[in-house]
Symmetry: none
Subunit: 405 residues, 2 copies
Amino acid sequence: MITAEIIAIGSELLTPFRTDTNSLYLTRTLEERGIRVIAKSIVGDDHEHLVDAFRIAFARADVILCSGGLGPTVDDLTREALVAFLEIPLRLNPEILEWIEARFAKRGMKMPEINRKQAMVPEGATVLPNHNGTAPGLFLEARGKQIFLLPGPPFELEPMWERSSLRLLRSEQPFQRKIFRIAMLPESQVDEMLQSVSSSLKEVQYTILASPSEIEVHLLAPDSAATELVSACAEVRAIMGNKIYAEDLITLEQVVGRLMKEAQKKVAVAESCTGGLLAQRFTEISGSSTYFERGVVVYSNRAKTELLGVPGELIEANGAVSEPVARAMAEGIRTRTGVDYGISITGVAGPEGGSAEKPVGTVFVGLADSKETAVKQYSFPGNRSRVRFSSSQAALNLLRLKLLE
Amino acid sequence: MITAEIIAIGSELLTPFRTDTNSLYLTRTLEERGIRVIAKSIVGDDHEHLVDAFRIAFARADVILCSGGLGPTVDDLTREALVAFLEIPLRLNPEILEWIEARFAKRGMKMPEINRKQAMVPEGATVLPNHNGTAPGLFLEARGKQIFLLPGPPFELEPMWERSSLRLLRSEQPFQRKIFRIAMLPESQVDEMLQSVSSSLKEVQYTILASPSEIEVHLLAPDSAATELVSACAEVRAIMGNKIYAEDLITLEQVVGRLMKEAQKKVAVAESCTGGLLAQRFTEISGSSTYFERGVVVYSNRAKTELLGVPGELIEANGAVSEPVARAMAEGIRTRTGVDYGISITGVAGPEGGSAEKPVGTVFVGLADSKETAVKQYSFPGNRSRVRFSSSQAALNLLRLKLLE
């Protein structure tokens, strides 16, 4: 197994406002070549910290990729730190100098003296041309490791990496990654359901990723474990069944959109506590106008009555957050629009508005079709955003299951 | 100077799909206390790499913050790696166990056996309660350093950090950071408007950060430059005027919400291309029910006519994306609800639906009150999400300016 470490360099990446994202792009291309990223570091423009970062990376990874710190200013220290760590000299490369001077001349400018620094190359390094900036990249093999120094801006880094770095990279048989997405089950429950699979794996690596109301199970396999991967996937499918909504990185709203298009059905939604989030998720999909007819955000009781025909007495007797009101909302939006499915959401998103009987997180989701109306009650943990997201997730998942019936 | 290192733990953070973002939030709170983040590390769920990460962090930083790896699965190794590195024992804490069991019981579930692990506490550690998940946080002082182990999910980490961790943290003379938020102006224009300020600064550092339809200007000053900071802020205010919507990290919807509450006005919205996003942003604010009456997502032309009274002939003559339709939508939602302000959005969010006359990004935003209806036309760059966000931003900003009149 070839391992890699990615070092992102730049003090701005240590502020509250920016962080490294080049590593996501780089990791994808490494994975395709069977190289596994085992660590990432982010350090500022500080000579000592940079030398430290090189020391650590050389101790644990086979391939080291650095981004940033190749510019012309005094803050750009990547080259200097690398040669200090490796104890090799830095030499002026006249060809690069000429190329940088020409680049400035082309724009009618004289090269500022500080840019001369960008023509300094560690002994033994290969120069990686930069077609979108003045900072050339560098490639070096030392102490049995491969080191790539790449510029920080993505529009400089990505073409350089693709055109001149990848072919220098060691590579192995690529991994295969299978992804299963599951909505509305807690992480621990999924983990327990899949324990028979995960505990019996040999070469395949099992990972479970949780975000609110959303679980991803990843199976990662080297080429040698292709058969094991196939049977592990089959087992996961057998256990989870239609709880899996996708075997890909697509979203629940995309899956529902595809099913709606296939079924040639239409939906309309009536939301209270989610305040438009469900409609927004439906319509985030391009082409959703073929199945999403309309949405109403009935934040006031008056709106519930006027737009959905929910009787004022029903709201008064049960409260706006109740099973009967969710039912009336789903039926109201369906019959008033004449679509196939009416969905309703009413709940307490918090932080205010909770009571002993209906604490924050209490949510009712209704789904009406021409035959019946089903209402499900939930008790979602978390803050306002999370309760709202979970509610929209529950609604989309109910519609998905209905469409699979 | 107190220094900090942030370690993000989880193999998913080394995939092409996820990376650490908790550090952005944490860094902001550290900066406010004068603590400087000098490095960030991201490591997978691997015992050896975790122990290494602790060794490296202990060697270079005063405060070490870890996120992730506190869950119940076999992949969650943070506690174990820390005690292995520090050579201290891990003990079962019966109170935490009871609390986790109760948490499951509340939802009518029995605690899975694997969750027992989350009640294991390193000797000498302080437990940080988790109000939004089963993983308690941990705080430890060892070898002259402060170590915080926090859960990975932001909705668990952030409240824990604010409620129980911050008060344990060492602190110093903070920097002062002043933030100005500006909506709907391009970065280059803001930068040019503020050139007289930025070019004359001495000790104060000027940064401009751009995201879609949103610019932030940051002025960062050490304690010694307090006077310079005050006069720079005054200059920024004089130049930008009411283009600044906030001098803080609050959102545009929060600012509009405050203004609406002060003015005791009500608003209702009619959305087409934003599909509920504007309603969702209004209602993301707790207490928005006092000023947000309702929203309608009129994705079909029929819905525009039925819910807003937009004449079918008007749509046919001008197209759904047009000045007259935006006007009729804003007036329709206002008169039908009797609120103070009616807002409408209709546009081409893309990627499909554009034409030579109305390319993708063409958006009309209408704002009606009892006296007049104003419609503004925009041409937004970017993909579907970005066009939708910019449209909602434009609508909120128009309402803000109206409320300031």
